[in-house]
Amino acid sequence: MPKIGVYICHCGENIAGAVNIEEVKKFVEKLPDVVVVRDYLFMCSDPGQEIIKEDIRKGLVDRVVVAACTPRTHEPIFRKACEDAGLNKYYFEMANIRDQCSWAHWHEKEKATEKAKQLIAAAVAKARLLEPLEDRYVELNKNVMVVGGGIAGIFAALDLANAGFKVYLVEKSPSIGGNMAKLDKTFPTNDCSACILTPLMVEVANHPNVELLTYSEVEAVEGTVGNFRVKVRKKQTYVDWEKCTGCGACLNVCPPKARVPDEFNEGLSLRGAIYIPFPQAVPKKAVIDPDACISCSGRWFGEEPRRTKDGKPILAPCEKVCPTGACSRDEPRDPNGELIELNVGSIIVATGYRVMDKKHFKEFAPDSPNVITALQMERLISATGPTEGKLIVPSDIPKYLEWKKKVEKGKEAKLEARKPHVITFVSCVGSRDERFHTYCSKVCCMYMLKQAMLLKEKYPDLDIYIFFIDVRTPGKDFDEYYMRCRKLGIKIIKGKVGGVQRLPDERLLVRGYDADLGKPVELISDIVVLATAIEPNTDLKDLARKLGINVGAEGFLRERHTKLYPVDTMTEGVFICGCAQGPKDIPDSVAQAKAAASSAMSLLAPGKMRVEPLISEVNPEKCTGCGICAPLCPYGAIEYVEVDGKRRAKINEAICKGCGVCTAACPSKAITLHGFTYEQVLAQIKTIARKGVIEEV
């Protein structure tokens, strides 16, 4: 006869506040095979666990039921306690009377108490049928794939590589660097973004343990923790990267017709169909954008060139100017690129974010070139931006570029671009807005202050207004930064901007509300900067699905537990960091990246991993070899073997994941899913159906 101990947790007031513990205890004491019932304020605390261990050590109990929070977080803790006290840890069962009882039925205390009784009775019914199991061990592949080459991905990769792990760093654009590469300076120290980022980009690219896979995307992921098989598509670059030296000769010869908005400059300037994302790109290699290329020489890759009258081949300008032959169009190129397969033990997702486009905000005159997003402002004031950091109104950037072209050709020219006198910032554009995103994008307050400070320090005559709903500057040295801005004479207005009107002279009329004055205000501004929300990347959901991890309602990746497992996911071996998990600044992204790297390290370093033996097993005595189960298995873990001359199903325990699909389908009940056997689940169901009365077995 099993000796079951039931341990009821108060969870402070969390459970005891809704569930009458004494009443439950009286009920549970009468359940069959229950020999001990105890309660404690916090069962998971050290003294709480000691109560359980003591009973096991004394031989009072040989099955343990804990009625507390949720097995999702606390089952491993209590199993460990059982094991430490010398009990097979699979002689443990949990009743969820907090998350699924007291919290949900807080105002119906009697009914919550009744439900708790039934849930505990169901757990006891299952505990009577538990069986001892032994853990299995699987070998772990020690390679790691990091997806996303922004600041988070770079740090995760570097930490792992420095610890001796082989890292594949997969980045979808032609260069690593991510959004941080687009920033001018970074708060709260105002150090130049490129100065701190580019050395890291070079370091990670040159690290002997890092294999850089830029212009590549994850196509499919199979396998599980320790043994993931990943298919990565290396997109077609149309430039031979073996030969390309990144000299940039091809960039200027691409014809004007093939020019498209430059992603790196957030559309403030144009780039050619052949391009290097930015001057400090790593790797510094050119790619051809096949959608933009107009095949100006009249031939695509692998086609015969057209010829002049005297028979000479007509080459594309990029092809002609390339000193190494990297741009040659002689050979055909597969538009699908190349599919490669990686074997890794762990995966870190660091795919970052995108900023919301201004087009969604009709009230802020998005058609005006002088209404820009904050990321566009970064480009406008950056020394690597379209104007080399010279501050002009964005509507005059084309004039600037023309002027620059003339000057470069040695011609006399006068720059006739307008300098702004008034700049207005609008906060919470798309964030904290029920129409778009209810969350706070977290970094906007600080970057608006930063941009305002940089502008004001460089151009003291500028009038700068920032409209805030609230100024949110928690963080080390952040509020001091805000006070510095105020002292500089930047005008902070508490209130919302209701609308922006485009004026005929390309200036902008800003209508807002000043909560301190208690009345509407109007001002004429040369540039309006919208702090548009940080959003998850469009393809994040797709990637999450491939990895079997969850996204939250707002579209960011969900961590396993907000507080305790902030970089873990529901798929073991897959970790997350940076803005893919939620909006955050650079220090937080780096901290999370390092956390993800160390989580992957502590997972992989031992080389093997314990896995729960909660998988299916065939009883060859009962199996009739009917053939129903094998085709149902999602992992192909079932094969048929000869046992005493008869066909019998056999489950490969290294492949089985324990879903139980075969177990449910077997007409002879020959397959057992350990931990969730037919008898165990049925006993729980029957007990609840009978309102807490356990059927005698």
């Binding site: 949720t70 097995p71 999702r72 969820n96 907090r98 998350d99 699924q100 009882c101 007291s102 919290w103 949900a104 039925h105 807080w106 105002h107 119906e108 009914k111 919550a112 009744e114 439900k115 039934q118 849930l119 169901a122 699905r545 079997g548 969850n550 996204v551 939250g552 309602a553 969900r558 529901m570 798929t571 909660l614 149902l632 999602p634 992992y635 994941k657 324990g658 879903c659 139980g660 699909v661 177990t663 449910a664 389908a665 899913l673 931990g675 969730f676 037919y678 689940v681 049925l682 729980q684 169901i685 029957k686 609840i688 159906a689 009978r690 309102k691």
Partner: protein, 137 residues
């Protein structure tokens, strides 16, 4: 029965989605009827039709199977297996004279705590309308 009849509802929930959603509903304090009690299984594909039938035979008034959304199954395709079995089971229930509305299949994702609570409220209302399970009467 002397006391007023209250439905007895069993939710057989997949560990990765609906069970998580039930936890989330609690932690966000979305309340739903305490008539609902969850039994955890690894996957909706683990649910045997007997589980549902036994629940009804033993006195439950309604059974809801909760799985991951199509395409989101932790085990790739267990939820599709659940869907197929569920459709057959529904036919069988009708033939046995049990209202098929008593047995329901729902896809409730791990982040859908609110949906969990809403579905449970609605299911509880449906069962109340149907009255006690005829097998029990």
């Amino acid at each position: 029965m002397s006391e007023e009849w209250e439905p007895n509802i069993i939710v057989i929930a997949c560990n990765w989605c609906t069970y998580q959603a039930a936890d989330l509903a609690g932690s966000l304090r979305y309340s739903y009827p305490p008539t609902v009690k969850v039994v955890r299984v690894p996957c909706s594909g683990r649910v045997e039709p007997e589980f549902v039938l036994e629940a009804l035979i033993n006195g439950s008034d309604g059974v809801l199977i909760g799985g991951c959304h199509p395409g989101d199954c932790h085990y790739k395709e267990g939820n599709y297996k659940a869907l197929r079995r569920f459709k057959l089971l529904h036919k069988l229930l009708t033939e046995l004279g049990i209202e098929p509305e008593r047995v329901r299949l729902e896809w409730i994702g791990g982040s859908e705590g609110l949906k969990f609570a809403e579905v449970m409220k609605e299911f509880d209302a449906t069962i109340r309308k149907l009255g006690p399970n005829p097998l029990k009467r």
